[in-house]
């Protein structure tokens, strides 16, 4: 993984010192809250419902064991012994004190981490496929590209005060695990159909929130060498023409929608042609230097399948079930990538205690070349585990309540913090996730249902990605009580789609019954081997709507 050079180190240390001074001036009264707020947001510090919140960047979701251990330490020393992994693959602490945050940032800097640009109207933490570098369907590792963008976008003077926040995701695989079509810019690494040269498909204008949109392809093939100049052109068009008069219309998706994809592309290409490409694009030597950090490790030569692993599966049905859901094939024979579910039945999705973080760090050191990934679905990944070690890892995970076999299933629910923590939320989301997980806890039933993604947001900002959930749940306030709107048919993959609203909002206690009815329609009507989302696409919304309306006690 990438390591800071002396420039990165100095840049982060200087920023910590700067913020320490800003906090000092806030506390001595030199800065008002209005003056201080944009400064704290630039360093990932929010004021939530009960306390401050610190959002820490995990670039493209990649963590070392050392970094994870430091997060555990911070959670224990400065928070309440736990942290929350988010859909942007970041980590949030919910209870830090403002006066402690400069010390926390120093501890982060000690392990090459920071909270810069995890908030504010700038280019946010870049995300990528969590199986980067190990996926069998990968064309090229997306992390060097993501790291290049991280370096280019960090404190970029021209793009530090954009009309709104800006999110970029990269995938290098055929199957999109980074939700690139729901980002302001999504990059898909691909081979040119004729020349077989590697380049990018550039997708712009996706995003969720109050106006959900699927991104549009603005460049079908961009040579790799032109990446930064092209991104600069996209950002410049957006920065100049994005709506600054209305924050609800300020995202690039609105600009693309209002002027049309063709016209937006034309303006970008015009700007791209005007730019002095060589002065903007990265030096090939620098690109090679970055890529070298992501070179495949020295794998052992192993047989494609491990006898010990097969024997463990045969002798332990619980382990076999976990392997089926949580273990992913690896490009290197004899290895596997395993996903650690942060969705134990009934627990807040994405939360990990300091002890759990430490265990994951230990397991990474012992079994996964010290590497850990955070997924946008709020789980963790050990990407480099020998098949022969999986049983031992599974047992250790089980002792810490981290061996839930539900990745991709109905209880692997994405949920934003909602009104339990977030000052912007209009309803709770975690208790809905907990109730649904408990309702569908039976392992056999989960397996029978198969792949089904439920995503829950506690407000219209859609941090829980509900629009692209196979079943989406949006918490709102209706006449002073929490109300939940259900959507169906969303998809976060390469077949990205925005879900459609099924009917009026429901009271919290009615949500599990409504989901039960939706699932029952699917089970009754599915064809052999048909997944939930394929079933919805084949039979349409009408049967689900009918069942939903029978169940609903509408709030509004």
């Amino acid at each position: 993984m990438y390591r800071y050079d002396e420039f990165d180190e100095r840049f982060v240390r200087e920023r910590v010192a700067q913020f320490r001074d800003q906090v000092g001036r806030r506390l001595n009264g030199s800065l008002t809250e209005d003056e201080f707020k944009p400064l704290r947001l630039k360093n990932g510090v929010y004021l939530q419902l009960h306390a401050y919140m610190l959002r820490i960047a995990v670039p493209y979701g990649t963590l070392s064991s050392k970094q994870m251990r430091q997060l555990a330490l911070i959670g224990e020393r400065y928070d309440r012994g736990y942290g929350h992994f988010t859909t942007r693959t970041n980590l949030q602490f919910n209870w830090p004190k403002l006066r402690d945050i400069p010390d926390i940032l120093d501890l982060l800097a000690d392990v090459e981490m920071h909270a810069i640009q995890t908030s504010g109207n700038c280019i946010r933490n870049v995300t990528a496929d969590h199986f980067a570098g190990v996926a069998q369907d990968e064309i090229e590792d997306p992390r060097p590209t993501a790291e290049l963008i991280r370096q280019w976008s960090s404190l970029h003077p021209e793009f530090d005060y954009l009309p709104r926040k800006f999110k970029i995701a990269v995938t290098g695989a055929e199957h999109d695990r980074a939700v690139i079509k729901a980002h302001d810019i999504g990059l898909r690494i691909l081979r040119h159909p004729d020349t077989h040269e590697i380049g990018y498909e550039v997708i712009v204008g996706g995003g969720l929130g109050r106006t959900p949109m699927i991104g549009k392809v603005v460049r079908e093939f961009l040579p790799k060498a032109d990446l930064l100049a092209y991104l600069e052109a996209v950002m410049r068009v957006y920065n100049l023409e994005g709506r600054r008069d209305n924050k609800y219309k300020a995202r690039v998706k609105i600009l693309v929608h209002e002027i049309g994809t063709e016209e937006f592309s034309r303006r970008v290409e015009e700007e791209f042609a005007r730019l002095d490409g060589p002065s903007v694009n990265a030096d090939p030597a620098e690109v090679a230097r970055i890529a070298a950090y992501f070179a495949p490790p020295a794998y052992e030569t192993l047989p494609a399948t491990s006898g010990a692993f097969e024997a463990a599966k045969a002798g332990n049905p619980d382990f076999a079930r976990w392997v089926e859901t949580n273990v992913t094939d690896h490009r290197q024979p004899g290895y596997a990538a395993l996903t650690i579910s942060l969705k134990p039945i009934g627990a807040p999705p994405g939360d990990a205690t300091s002890d759990q973080m430490r265990l994951v760090a230990d397991l990474a050191d012992e079994f996964s070349l010290s590497e850990i990934r955070v997924t946008h679905a709020q789980n963790l990944v050990l990407p480099q585990v020998k098949q022969a070690d999986l049983f031992a890892v599974w047992r250790r995970l089980g002792e810490a309540d981290l061996a839930t076999a539900n990745v991709g299933l109905i209880t692997d629910i994405i949920a934003c913090p909602g009104l339990d923590y977030c000052a912007l939320a209009t309803a709770r989301s975690i208790p809905i996730a907990q109730a649904l997980a408990q309702r569908f806890a039976d392992a056999g039933r989960q397996k029978e249902i198969g792949v089904l993604n439920i995503k829950i947001s506690g407000c219209i900002n859609a941090c829980g990605h509900h629009h692209v959930g196979h079943i989406g749940i949006l918490g709102l306030e209706k006449r002073g009580i929490e109300s939940y709107q259900i959507t169906l048919g969303g998809d976060a993959t390469e077949n990205a789609a925005i879900g459609e609203i099924l009917g009026p909002g429901l009271a919290a206690e009615d949500v599990p019954d409504a989901i039960e009815r939706i699932v029952s329609v699917y089970l009754a009507q599915r064809q052999q081997g048909e997944s939930f989302i394929d079933n919805v696409r084949r039979i349409g919304l009408a049967p689900f709507k009918a069942a939903f309306q029978e169940a609903s006690h509408a709030v509004a």
């Binding site: 809250e33 306390a51 209870w95 403002l98 208790p431 907990q434």
Partner: protein, 117 residues
């Protein structure tokens, strides 16, 4: 700029402490106000004069860098305790509903009263 509409009486004044972000309540009487972390100690504005006093205290304390995000909240009086009418502020005065071991609900017996409704 028009003044923000005041919520219906009775009201209490809540805010977040600048240093640690904890929710605090304006407490005291007509002779003077201070901040308390205990919701049971909140001064209840039953009339316009007290609500005005709370408003003025909020403005002064925001300026003094003692608190952030101070605003009046309409409450119901239940067993002598002011309970915010809106679920958002009820939760703000207790702690997260999913972690009863955190927040005021874990530390202050009186905050338990806010868990109702």
């Amino acid at each position: 700029m028009a003044a923000a509409k005041r919520p219906a009486l009775p009201v209490i004044l809540l805010a977040n402490d600048l240093l640690d972000g904890d929710v605090v309540f304006a407490a005291g009487d007509a002779n003077g106000l201070n901040w308390s972390r205990d919701p049971g100690a909140a001064l209840i504005g039953h009339d316009d004069a007290t609500a005005d006093q709370l408003d003025a205290f909020a403005a002064a304390e925001l300026g003094n860098q003692q608190v952030v995000d101070a605003y009046l909240v309409d409450v119901a009086i239940e067993d002598g305790v002011p309970v915010p009418r809106h679920y958002r502020e009820r939760m703000k005065t207790t702690g997260p509903s999913i972690r009863r071991d955190l927040g005021k609900q874990a530390e202050l017996p009186l905050a338990q009263a806010f868990l109702r409704a």
